[in-house]
């Protein structure tokens, strides 16, 4: 079972985000970077599939700056076998450019399964996985919360508005992982030490400027505090009156 997992190095979601001086990028000074949380589900699923098959290879592919080697090693520490860093100092705002670079790397790989996290928690683009699937002409199922594999095929569940969709698809396929797919393992200490010795190839990649030009980054207007209507159940009639007559939402 040969599985590729595409991962991204992103700022820790708890980090306070500051806009850089030029107003066109986020200030990265002092920011802690982590493996994209949605990608953790993808890595974990890949490891479980390989463990279930008893044999195989899990390859981590990442487009990012040199520092992303550390991100790849986090995935190797969880148990992946080797990594490939497509090194680019700046990741374009155009997800299609990212998808093209990843697809070119993945195409000759002969993968049975290519996994992504549903989206990156920095750019919230939520597109690279399905775009790669299109470029590789592979079936794609997004936001999966459950996966079963048989020989040459798979069944996945995904949350949709109003329920859960159960879908079948042939392999090879591209899947993107939603929270709830599994509970990712903590990298064990032995895994961290072993990761240092696993193969990690770095390849420079040239990306086009793409079709998305950043104009500016701004912070949204602060919502100001409203009013405390009162205390306890006694305040309820007044609240309902305000919602009706002032806010006009009921």
């Amino acid at each position: 079972m040969k599985i590729a997992v595409c991962v991204k190095r992103v700022p820790d979601t708890e980090a306070r985000v500051k806009i850089g001086a030029g107003g066109k990028a986020v200030d990265e000074a002092g920011v802690k970077f982590v493996l994209n949380p949605y990608d953790e589900f993808a890595v974990e699923e890949a490891l479980r599939r390989k463990e279930q098959a008893g044999t195989g290879e899990v390859v981590i592919v990442c487009l990012g700056p040199a520092a992303a080697q550390e991100t790849i090693r986090t995935a190797l520490a969880m148990g992946a076998d080797r990594g490939v860093l497509l090194q680019a100092d700046a990741i374009p705002a155009d997800g299609f450019e990212v998808a093209k670079a990843l697809a070119a790397e993945l195409r000759p790989g002969g993968y049975d399964l290519i996994l992504f996290g549903k989206m990156a928690v920095d750019d919230y683009n939520q597109q690279v996985g399905p775009m790669v699937a299109e470029l590789l002409d592979l079936p794609c199922v997004t936001s999966i919360v459950h996966l079963d594999l048989t020989a040459g095929a798979g069944v996945a569940e995904r949350e949709i508005e109003g329920g859960v969709e159960v879908v079948e698809f042939p392999l090879p396929a591209v899947l993107t992982a939603e929270k709830g797919l599994n509970e990712p393992r903590f990298p064990a200490l032995k895994g961290i030490m072993a990761a240092k010795k696993k193969p990690l190839e770095t390849k420079p990649v040239a990306l086009g400027a793409g079709g998305v030009e950043v104009v500016a980054l701004t912070t949204p207007a602060e919502r100001t505090a409203g009013k405390i209507v009162g205390e306890g159940a006694a305040a309820v009639p007044e609240l309902v009156r305000l919602l009706r007559e002032e806010a006009k939402v009921i």
Binding site: E14, R73, F186, P187, L189, I192
Partner: protein, 395 residues
């Protein structure tokens, strides 16, 4: 729900760590946030050690993490080991005590003084958490003065017979094996102290938890009684001889504790900062009042100093150059400052600070034990005094 811990790193200590050290720290940090913190307040109040965490700790490889890979251990360096202790104690001193004992006071003596057969037999099972151990040195009448211990080991035709009592033994009631330090000669013969691997189900061995603790409540602290406990010849740790053997083990554990105390202080400081920014009194956050700012500035200063102390100590230890006196300085300073940080956090939290829902008072109570065990603060003072002057002021 508390936000995930972001660390306290005012002087960019992260920049001085190797990638694998950061990775080790991060994985234990995440585990503590997800598995320890949600339950530890309740365990503390209930007086229960969360035994269910042991398999998880073993799976992560936290036991004997700095011992070699050939015994099923992670083979980490000493800074990584220290960071593990830091993050565990950020959770609770009782959880860190468990790991300190298992790794530094049980696996370490087997590794340092054991035969190849003993190492191969015990270490992998201890690393996996299958076998829990405890360290039996302290006695009811011999704490700060371990040289005076009176547990005896009399040699017989086919083994040894041990008699005596031990007290304040972490993990005592849950351990499958106890490392018992006993004199093979007369009471005044300190050099006759040797270490023995005693399975706790051996006839004559009993362990009982000590009740009524107001500190380290999420930890098993036990009395051990050995009444004509027969063990085979190969129960002795062949490399052990004299007091320096158990003291060497204690130095390992003390090193971890110097880091652990920093973790406890970081937890309290972090809690203090969040609270100070959110708690409103007199119309504004209390973090804007001068006296609270002074508290926070002092805390950050002491934590930063202690972190750098630990890091250099760890680097010296990696080179094989760390002396027990250097470890004494770190343990003494860091535990003392952590107790201050915990107390000041408790005060900053006001009335909320007495609730188990908040961490400060639990850490404060725990740290009183950490101040006393592994060499009391005062004992380390005299160790340093002797090192500085060449004169013993012990007794």
């Amino acid at each position: 729900m508390a936000p995930r811990f972001q660390g306290v790193d005012f002087y960019d200590m992260d920049g001085l760590l190797m990638e694998e050290e950061r990775a080790v720290r991060d994985t234990v940090r995440a585990w503590v946030d997800e598995r320890v913190l949600p339950i530890i307040g309740d365990c503390y109040v209930a007086g229960r050690f969360p035994k269910e965490l042991v398999p998880q700790m073993a799976e992560l490889g936290l036991f004997g993490a700095n011992l070699p890979e050939e015994y099923g251990c992670a083979g980490l360096g000493n800074v990584a080991y220290g960071l593990i202790m830091q993050e565990l104690e950020r959770g609770d001193s009782g959880v860190r005590s468990f790991a300190s004992v298992q790794g530094g006071l049980v696996m370490y003596p087997v590794y340092a003084f054991g035969s190849d057969a003993q190492k191969r037999s015990w270490l992998p099972r201890m690393a996996s958490g299958e076998v829990i151990g405890c360290f039996g040195l302290t006695e009811p009448d011999f704490g700060s003065n371990p040289a005076g211990l009176i547990t005896t080991a009399r040699e017989t035709k086919d083994g040894w017979v041990l008699n005596g009592a031990k007290m304040w033994i972490t993990n005592g009631s849950t351990a499958q094996v106890a490392i018992i330090w006993a004199k093979t000669g007369p009471p005044e013969d300190v050099a006759s102290i040797r270490g023995f691997l005693v399975p706790t189900d051996t006839s004559g061995f009993s362990a009982k938890d000590q009740q009524g603790k107001l500190s380290l409540r999420a930890s098993d602290t036990s009395e051990l009684v050995l009444q004509d406990v027969h063990v085979p010849k190969d129960a002795v740790l062949p490399g052990s001889q004299g007091l320096k053997s158990p003291l060497l083990c204690l130095t390992q554990a003390r090193y971890g504790i110097a880091w652990g105390a920093v973790g406890a202080a970081m937890a309290c400081y972090d809690e203090a900062v969040h609270y100070a920014k959110a708690r409103v009194m007199f119309g504004r956050p209390i973090g804007g009042f001068q006296l609270q700012q002074a508290r926070l500035a002092d805390m950050l200063t002491e934590i930063t100093k202690a972190q750098l102390l630990c890091l250099q100590l760890g680097r010296l230890k990696d080179k094989g150059a760390a002396t027990p006196q250097q470890v004494s300085l770190a343990k003494r300073n860091n535990v003392d400052m952590a107790t201050d940080v915990a107390r000041e956090t408790r005060r900053l939290l006001g009335a909320n600070g007495i609730l188990a829902e908040y961490q400060a008072m639990r850490h404060l109570a725990n740290l009183e034990s950490v101040y006393t065990y592994e060499g009391t603060h005062d004992v380390h003072t005299l160790i340093l005094g002797q090192e500085i002057t060449g004169l013993s002021a012990f007794a």
